[in-house]
Amino acid sequence: MSKNIAIKVENLSKAYQLGQIGTGTISRDLERWYARIRGKEDPFLRIGESNNQNTKSESDVVWSLKDINFEIEQGDAVGIIGRNGAGKSTLLKILSKVTAPTTGKISGKGRIASLLEVGTGFHPELSGRENIFLNGAILGMRKKEIQRKLEEIVDFAGIERYLDTPVKRYSSGMYVRLAFAVAAHLESEILIVDEVLAVGDAEFQKKCLGKMGEVSKGEGRTVLFVSHNMNAVNTLTNISFYLKNGIIEFNGKTDEAVKHYLSNTKPSKTYLSVPNQKISITRVEVLTSETNSVHNQGQPLTIEIDVNMPYYAEGMGVSFQIYNEEETPIVYCYRFDVDKPLLRHTGINKLKCIIPNCRLYMGRYYLHVHLAETKGRTYIEGIDKICEFEVQIIEKSIEWGWQPDVCKYLEDFYWE
């Protein structure tokens, strides 16, 4: 390995098992073991499927990371970006040794400090001082090292007065500040940070970002930073990986990676699944007023849902929720068999829901679709995070211009 490479990752993959783990696994383990002694492959691993969460695959093993290769030079600040479930956190977990990879190898130089979560191991009954030592030791610091840094940590967190008070009496802000301070003062050559900046107030977030910038630029340490905040990634890192479905889609300069990410994050407009012997949703589509999944605010929005009924059934119910980017449900639409017969034909049933005056404010939205049998109260299928679309305000204009996050929806109104 050349002198200045801090981390080298070769053919790294990680498989997760979906569904229930526990019941029946003794028999499955025996099957695995039997396959192994005959020199066969693990019958439950299927290599070559990508991790696409929108479609159901045959095997219940999913590859969260698949054949990842990269090198990071010492002193680089590297951003890792991608949608939820792209494998970012898995990669960080493997790098910080919390979980082992399924295949592949990572080699590196220097001590790793990982901040996957702040305040891990804080004990509420212990004082701030005791927790600094405990948390520091959990993160891998020696007692002497913590002693030396104690003043700096306390100063950064701004908790001098409460140092000997049990942390259960701290405000949540103080708690987080203390936790970040301990981790940020860890002497390590490689720092791994996962969205811890999503906590604390704006001022403290700035302080943390500043500290991280200092760490990578000033002290020449290698930093790996995962975030959804493109702004932070842009200011803190020079190169970035864009992960998509467990594969590195782009590896290069941060601004280019961010561009890739932004242009690539539009998910497929339509949800499709192959009909089988069970009652299931086979298609969901949002028909927006404009092309490219853009909807003009105030125009009618149509949602089409196809359900396959392999046999006759009564008492079905279909509903969906429209979620915004903060994962808050905004709209709920439903239809039940009890009110008006629904899904009574065998075969594909086509449903169409029209929202005549879609008042959603500008922003990105997606659907959660639910299918249930209401008499027996059985939940048949739920499909999360599909059919993302964007609402823009195209026709109406106001003096100030439309600002983001002004409201959740625009009501019809008039003044007298």
């Binding site: 783990i21 979980t99 082992a100 399924t102 990572i106 080699s107 990982s114 009954e125 212990l126």
Partner: protein
């Protein structure tokens, strides 16, 4: 700044026998801080504080004296009944605490283990050491009671085997640790075992010479006493009693047998624990 000492690799398959003892040594400060945390958080916001360590064995002794000693009339090898029971309870409690606490170590620490890496063995080790503190406090109670019976002229005498006390403590700790680690490793996948531990430990106590002497069991149930004899905790408790009170069936061979079983269980425990530790976050 960068030297070979700091280079590392992470691989999909690790050697089963790589016990990472040097890593544990590097994290020794964490071990002490965890022990301190357990001890301090135990009595914070209680009135009696560490006195609580006394209360449980004291009351158990009173109940055992009443039920097994007086009501059931089980012999105590001619020793004062409370002293006989307290000796058994103190030793048994240490073993049982090590076992039960260690057996849930993955579940109890899933939060920390899922976020930060440190040698996982530190956790069970800290459990054994913090229970040692508790055991030490309970030994004081036992010594006080010994003193009381000595001055009231009861019939017991300390034998040379008291020198084996450190050996006995280490055996109890390691036996509890080993068995606990095996169970903890298996409960990450098969939760059923967690239910077994609760009453299993309770039942095991009756298969150990806590409330009766081994000699009595051999006399009354010669056909089944082998169950008790093969239980590795039996020679440990018998040696403990023989050392402090001068009564009990002590033999080098049975103590050697207990040591052998302990070593085997401990090694197996560490290996299986290390194997599970690498991936348990995904299944717990």
């Amino acid at each position: 700044m960068y030297n070979e000492e700091h280079s590392w690799t992470i691989e999909a398959k690790a050697s089963l026998f790589d016990l990472k003892l040097n890593e544990i040594w590097a994290y020794r400060d964490l071990l002490w801080l965890l022990v301190r945390r357990d001890f301090v958080s135990f009595y914070k916001q209680t009135i009696l504080g560490p006195l609580w360590f006394f209360i449980q064995p004291l009351f158990t002794t009173i109940i055992f004296t009443f039920i097994f000693g007086n009501l059931a009339g089980i012999s105590t090898d001619g020793l004062p009944k409370p002293l006989f029971y307290l000796a058994g309870i103190t030793a048994w409690n240490y073993f049982a605490d090590c076992l039960t606490k260690t057996s849930t170590v993955f579940r109890d620490n899933a939060g920390i283990f899922g976020k930060v890496y440190f040698p996982r063995l530190i956790m069970p080790l800290s459990i054994v050491v913090s229970n040692l503190v508790r055991f030490g406090v309970q030994m004081i109670l036992f010594l006080i009671m010994m003193g009381y019976y000595y001055f009231t002229g009861a019939n017991f005498n300390i034998s040379w085997a008291i020198c084996l006390f450190p050996v006995v403590v280490i055996l109890m700790a390691l036996l509890g640790l080993g068995t606990g680690m095996i169970i903890s490793a298996m409960t990450t996948k098969y939760r059923d075992l967690a239910f077994l531990v609760g009453f299993g430990v309770q039942l095991l106590m009756y298969a150990t010479t806590v409330i009766y002497p081994l000699s009595e069991a051999l006399k009354k149930y010669p056909a089944y006493a082998w169950i008790i004899e093969y239980n590795p905790m039996t020679p440990i408790i018998e040696t403990f009693r023989y050392g402090f009170l001068g009564e009990g069936s002590f033999s080098w061979s049975s103590l050697g047998y207990a040591s052998g079983i302990t070593t085997a269980l401990l090694l197996f425990g560490i290996v299986i624990f290390n194997k599970v530790e690498r991936n348990f976050v995904d299944t717990v």
